[in-house]
């Protein structure tokens, strides 16, 4: 099973992604509620892939992405963005995010995106 780390400040989104992945061969290894926690948990848990919310308190998704990439250049991070955040998505891609999903998304779409990033 591939391991996924969810980074999102909204408990509702973390729960949604967790529920979405219930039906697939993806194991949720951890949930972080801000960028800082996300970076720490990445180092701790070595997930195969990360879903990273863009706007979060403490440390934004983009800052967390940079920190994770600095620690592990191979890290596979998928940005989770909202409508109207195209500029920030672009910045994330430049900084090494693999791709992005725009909320709201369906579970099949999220799974497809994750599998593509993992090369499954």
């Amino acid at each position: 099973m591939k391991k996924l780390l969810i980074v999102d400040d909204a408990a509702f989104m973390r729960l949604s992604i967790r529920n979405m992945m219930n039906n697939y061969d993806i194991e949720i290894v951890g949930e972080a509620a801000n960028g800082l926690m996300g970076v720490e948990m990445y180092k701790e848990l070595h997930p195969d892939v990360v879903t990273m919310d863009i706007t979060m308190p403490e440390m934004s998704g983009i800052e967390a992405l940079k920190a994770i990439k600095a620690h592990d250049p191979q890290a596979k991070v998928i940005m989770v963005s909202a409508m109207g955040q195209e500029g920030m998505v672009k910045e994330a891609i430049i900084n090494g995010a693999k791709t992005f999903v725009v909320k709201p998304f369906k579970e099949e779409f999220l799974y497809q995106t994750i599998s593509k990033v993992l090369g499954l």
């Binding site: 400040d9 909204a10 408990a11 509702f12 989104m13 706007t55 308190p57 909202a82 409508m83 109207g84 909320k103 709201p104």
Partner: protein, 271 residues
């Protein structure tokens, strides 16, 4: 002065809570008595039980309307919680202007009281779009349960002292002096706000399309946690994805339970 017995108070409070969501705690008893005193005297009710009986049996709805006009707290003012309007101008409107291709913005001021909030929004919108304003359909829907405040709001007449704190440019562009006491909003702004009587406790919400922005500020403070929770969930369903909910600064949503994304104090987004 008429007095209200425990039973009379709890009965009336239960009626108000069931119908309007407003949660009157025991410490409000004196306030409620005071606000209704006049109504009882005028209509020759001998006590609150008689008055209550009348509310229940009155088919015209006038009794209930008067009750709600008296019970609600309608305090409001222009530019209240200014940072919300600044955020609208700096973030929300630019986002919507870019995103909403049909050029129709749907903005709702829920619990609008005497109109200061929806009119402030209309002025912010007017200022934001400037010359482009005519290309947009960006009327503000403004609703309240109190018919008294809605009538006042529709008139668009305010005391000069009330608008004194607004930017000079706004006073010049958007208001016309009636006399030394009062000014009236120009039609251009007045016509941009549509007033409707609407009870937020109604089980069905009669809106055909979803909103881009909902303001419901300093309204849910009078509701209990359960009522507020249910209403916030309705607002979530009624918003477009990417849409914003503004609540009062003294209120907050439980971050762990809410589906909304926290943006800044009293501002949330459906992402």
């Amino acid at each position: 002065m008429l007095t209200m017995t425990n039973q009379e108070f709890s009965q009336l409070a239960a009626y108000i809570k069931a119908n309007y969501g407003i949660n009157l705690k025991e410490e409000k008893r004196a306030l409620v008595t005071g606000r209704l005193h006049h109504v009882l005297i005028q209509n020759n009710f001998r006590n609150f039980s008689e008055y209550y009986e009348h509310i229940l049996t009155d088919k015209t709805g006038n009794g209930a309307a008067t009750l709600i006009n008296k019970i609600t707290t309608n305090h409001t003012f222009f530019m209240r919680e200014t940072d919300h309007f600044e955020y609208c101008k700096a973030q929300v409107l630019p986002y919507l202007a870019n995103q909403v291709k049909a050029k129709d913005l749907r903005i709702w001021s829920a619990g609008c009281s005497s109109g200061e909030e929806p009119y402030t929004l209309a002025m912010v919108i007017d200022e934001f779009f400037g010359k482009e304003r005519l290309l947009w359909d960006a009327k503000v829907l403004a609703t309240d349960i109190s018919s008294r405040v809605l009538e006042e709001a529709k008139k668009g007449v305010y005391k000069n002292a009330e608008i004194a704190t607004l930017p000079a440019q706004w006073r010049l562009n958007y208001f016309r002096k009636i006399d030394n006491e009062k000014s009236v909003l120009v039609d251009r702004i007045r016509n941009e706000v549509i007033y409707r009587k609407f009870n937020l406790m109604d089980s069905s919400f009669p809106f055909k399309r979803k909103f881009h922005v909902i303001f419901c500020r300093n309204v849910m403070i009078y509701f209990d946690a359960q009522t507020k929770w249910e209403l916030v969930n309705k607002f979530f369903d009624l918003l477009e994805y990417g849409g914003y909910l503004f609540i009062g600064h003294s209120e907050s949503l439980n971050r762990e339970e809410s589906k909304f994304k926290y943006i800044m104090p009293a501002v949330y987004r459906k992402e």
